[in-house]
Symmetry: C2
Subunit: 506 residues, 2 copies
């Protein structure tokens, strides 16, 4: 497909240039808002060209770094390439790239780990500084200059509105028929001018299918034709299948008790294999007419839609394996009726998450015995990916699940620990913890009641006695009995792992 078929606003055809030429328009020190959410809809050419330019500048002894703001994670062509050449000063709000992560954890790169629902508004408030440039992938341009979004919406609306200069990457490999699958809400404002967001069910359209941009700001149009990162999922293994089965049993029980409607409430599912397995589990469950209201539409949710188990899904990005992508492209008319992609300030909005009554399911790194959850840090100091939208959903959800296998690193790490080495979700926000060992329903409990339930239901048997022993000794030695801790020992499991490679004693 030629670029002219997709760029139907004639002026923009005058601004077509190479990625190298476009990258040359980004000054050192700039704050750059890029598209991209969970490996979908990120610019494929300009960041690579910019990385080459930065490498060249550095070779000549010129300092050159930019700050990179996105929707969420991107791909090697963006985060990986720019991190590799030490081109990033400050990264926000989320990343999951191995090179990027290494640079953050070696202290060579700054990272501000934010709730994904906060990013757009903090940019609007001016809290993040001035946005100099936007680099946004789109599927095409309408004759009137409006933009057809790509596979992720993320913060693109905000970047296009706020940036001084805009570079568009028009990706002709994005299916043309995605046109109409997006819902861009232009009703947000800055306080005191905000209005209620007029959505009462998860598949309701509240905006329009296109992004706006002031054409005068568009300094470059770059043609790409390259698919998104292949987001592969492991086939559900025994551990994730068990986790899924506990959740499904629990949901059935809640329906029976009258605490959930028969068709449940809109489902949110975090990124990754376990979350995907839960959705796979729902495929074989008795539930019907499900709905999704989530950040990222992954293979599992697509399967539910295709099978007719789920009637609609709202997300901000669609992040699929190659196989699922083929199905999506082939049956895009079917999916366009059932999928809405929205800005992440809407997909993750606390107002909507609470109103719709989302059932939130998110992965974690570890939970402590009192119900505090660490979603981000390895052994208290090193960053994994970031909090993402887990806090947006968990805090405001109707039901909030946090899931993890009970152990990691072949059993050397217990994912249930005396004290979390970092806290992203406090005891006030964590309702249900699930591992392959079982499910701990923490609603309405005190910390010491939670401890018994978490240890007995969720901890791996290898670590259960030591956890019970910790509680028993803390009940004697702690300075208070509400959340009894032994301060000299609370983080000793993590310390032992760092020193010996195992949390196990001796």
């Amino acid at each position: 497909m030629s670029l002219a078929d997709r760029v139907r606003y004639p002026d923009f055809l005058q601004r077509v240039m190479s990625a190298d030429e476009a990258a040359a328009l980004i000054p050192a020190g700039a704050n750059v808002g890029m598209s991209g959410f969970t490996g979908a809809g990120y610019p494929k050419a300009v960041p690579l060209a910019l990385a080459a330019r930065i490498e060249n500048e550095h070779a000549q002894g010129h300092p050159f770094r930019i700050s990179v703001w996105t929707g969420a994670s991107t791909a090697p062509e963006l985060d990986g390439a720019l991190a590799k050449v030490n081109g990033i000063e400050m990264r926000l709000p989320f990343q999951s790239d191995p090179i990027c992560r290494n640079k953050i954890n070696s202290g060579e790169m700054q990272f501000s780990d934010m709730h994904l629902s906060h990013v757009a508004q903090h940019a609007w408030f001016g809290f993040l500084g001035h946005l100099d440039v936007a680099v946004v992938e789109v599927a095409g341009v309408l004759p009137d200059g409006r933009l057809i979004p790509s596979t992720a919406v993320g913060n693109n609306k905000t970047w296009l509105d706020l940036a001084d200069k805009v570079i568009l990457e028009v990706n002709t490999q994005v299916p043309e028929k995605m046109d109409g699958m997006h819902d861009i809400y232009y009703g947000t404002a800055v306080p005191p001018h905000r209005k209620p967001i007029p959505m009462t069910h998860p598949h309701e359209r509240i905006g329009e299918p296109y992004l706006h941009v002031d054409p005068a700001k568009v300094v470059a149009v770059v043609h790409t034709q390259q698919g998104d990162r292949d987001t592969r999922f492991a086939a559900p293994d025994a551990v994730s299948q068990k986790i899924a089965s506990y959740i499904i049993d629990f949901l059935q029980f809640e329906v029976k008790q009258g605490r959930l409607p028969a068709h449940l409430l809109p489902l949110q599912s975090g990124v990754g294999n376990v979350a995907n397995a839960v959705l796979a589990g729902l495929l074989d469950s008795p539930f019907e007419q499900l709905t999704g209201y989530t950040e990222v539409l992954q293979d599992g949710m697509l399967d539910l839609l295709r099978a007719g188990k789920m009637v609609s899904a709202s997300a901000t990005a669609i992040s699929l394996s190659k196989t699922a992508l083929a199905d999506f492209t082939e049956n895009i008319d079917f999916y366009r009726e059932r999928i809405l992609l929205r800005p992440q300030e809407i997909s993750n909005h606390p107002e909507l998450v609470r109103r719709l009554g989302i059932i939130a399911m998110n992965a974690m790194i570890e939970a402590d015995i009192y119900g505090n959850v660490n979603s981000t840090h390895i052994m208290g100091s090193g960053m994994m990916n970031g909090i993402g939208g887990s806090g947006d959903f968990a805090r405001n959800a109707y039901l909030s699940f946090f899931v993890t296998p009970s152990v990691a690193k072949d059993g050397a790490i217990s994912c249930i620990v005396p004290m979390a080495s970092h806290v992203d979700h406090t005891e006030h926000d964590v309702q249900i913890i699930v591992t392959e060992q079982g499910l701990a329903d923490l609603r309405g409990l005190s910390p010491t009641q939670r401890a018994q339930r978490i240890i007995d239901q969720c901890a791996h048997p290898d670590f259960r006695p030591a956890l019970h022993d910790y509680v028993a000794r803390a009940k004697k030695g702690a300075s208070g009995q509400h959340t009894p801790h032994l301060l000299d020992e609370a983080l000793s499991w993590h310390s032992r792992y760092v020193k010996t490679g195992s949390m196990k004693l001796g």
Copy 2:
């Protein structure tokens, strides 16, 4: 004033009885929803009578405990009396009574510390169990059976709706002219039936002035005439005046930078002396036409209203010193035009806090160098009061301040520590930390950037070198450099305090 003047629904006059008789209607093991929010509007007679009954039952060897759900904190006549006789099995969602606290920290009583905006909905969802009895203070009953609320609304609407049996305490000492000061919203529902909450400015009425109750459920009416707890405030001292002055300077700077409107945005202020001092500071500031949208209206906000600095204040409770109460009562027609008291699910609602763009100011126990805040726990194990509404406001606010003196216990405790001994507000939710040493603006920073700013701006000079030293050594010894921690040392300051009475070395 006679009871008949206040109880104008004739049927209820047939159900007038003594507090002892009413207390006899509460069965052992019951879940009891009581009125009361920050020492305002709590029942004064029935809990005391129930405590006497429980003491008597215990003396006879009969087990007798109830679970007590309220709005927030109450007073000695409720929490103190029931805790003293070991009459409380489970307490939620907040308390601040010394006896209650001791029982929680000795492990004799369970406490579920909840976000105040979550309580009503979790009760509606059925997550807290069945509500057997409501004991609610009101100012009077209309001829049609509707209730005139008292000095706090809290969760009263929910308790009256959900409980099987209702005991009303009609307090004839509550000013009759409070009639009309309340705004009870009956539009909440359980998902999937929720609608947008139709409020766009802080003084907007969205409900009606009265509480509903099914008259058939009212099993007892008890007459009381006793004022609320006298909530005394210390006169602002040098420390709290300094904190206030940093906040006011910062707000002026933000207005100048165009990041805040000239009349600011609605102010939320937590409970206590420092928060009160900030409001006192605003009295002498150049700001005009302020608005308040908060949980508890305290003396400081009343002063702002009287002085004409603040045009309106919304809260769920009015909790005043004796002097302020006298002024409030005397000038109640003036205040009724300017004050709205609402259910706490509305005063603290995430949807509204974000939409209105609240400026949130809350006290804390400690912050760590990376910006995590502990609002609830003493040395990691003992409960102070609870998280209250601080999380409802901080997470969703336009600006979120956390304030504390830099040291406690005559300088033995640093309120800035290497690692918080408990986390209630994560790094993702904490924007600005203020002590009498200075103000640390953390917006857009990475953890290590925050650490420099928090230590330099907020820590007491006595502890600054040790904190810098911790960071310097963690930057060498930690397993990751995003949030560098020394796991064996992170909680050593708290441990040292517990052992030696000081966080200082040697």
